[in-house]
């Protein structure tokens, strides 16, 4: 799954730690999501969407298969 997390975070000048604090997860989790090593659970995807004020579909999109 692809995502725009890094781009959205950079636009707000947030560090990975900032975003991690806002979503109540570890910085490693944010890093793993940004680099595509980990697909978040639905609750975490909703939390990320809420933090950015967007919908899940605006942040995540499935890989073209």
């Amino acid at each position: 799954m692809k995502n725009r997390l890094r781009e959205l975070r950079a636009a707000r000048r947030w560090s990975q730690a900032d975003l991690a604090d806002r979503c109540a997860v570890s910085r490693q989790a944010i890093n793993a999501i940004e680099t595509g090593r980990y697909d978040p659970s639905l609750p975490l995807a909703f939390a990320l969407a809420r933090v950015f004020g967007l919908t899940i579909e605006e942040i995540f999109e499935p890989d073209p298969t």
């Binding site: 990975q16 900032d18 991690a20 997860v25 570890s26 989790a29 978040p40 975490l44």
Partner: protein, 135 residues
């Protein structure tokens, strides 16, 4: 202190907590291993082995429970995958141990506990390396 540095400090503190709790577990595992390796154990040695093993198992459960309680969903995934690697190692080791036992090379009971302690060690090392290397 930057946010990243603060978060890394939190991660290091969590890792240190696992080490602080995990060291007595490894000591108990070693003690249980030594007590159980005597083939002609006296009743008191057998009781000591049973107590050390029971404490070891309880301590492992406690450390796992605490570590999972502190972890977020990504860290739990890393922990579970590391446990799977350790468990696979124990399964393969058990197959080898059974073969060695059948060939009368080493008795299975003597190897069984080493395999469990080794599996836990592999699990902890894999989990630690994965959290250390994947930043």
């Amino acid at each position: 202190m930057s946010d990243n540095a603060r978060q890394d400090k939190v991660t290091r503190a969590a890792r240190r907590a696992v080490l602080v709790e995990g060291t007595p577990v490894l000591v108990l595992g070693g003690a249980a291993l030594m007590l159980g390796s005597t083939p002609d154990a006296s009743p008191s040695q057998q009781v000591g082995w049973l107590v050390a093993t029971a404490l070891f198992v309880a301590a492992v459960v406690w450390v796992v429970y605490r570590a999972f309680g502190r972890a977020d969903e990504y860290q739990r995934k890393v922990q579970l995958e590391s446990m799977a690697v350790g468990f696979a190692a124990v399964l393969v080791g058990l197959q080898v141990a059974v073969a060695l036992d059948a060939a009368d090379v080493v008795p299975l009971p003597r190897l069984a506990q080493s395999l469990v302690v080794g599996g836990i060690a592999i699990w902890l090392v894999v989990a630690d390396l994965r959290t250390r290397l994947q930043r």
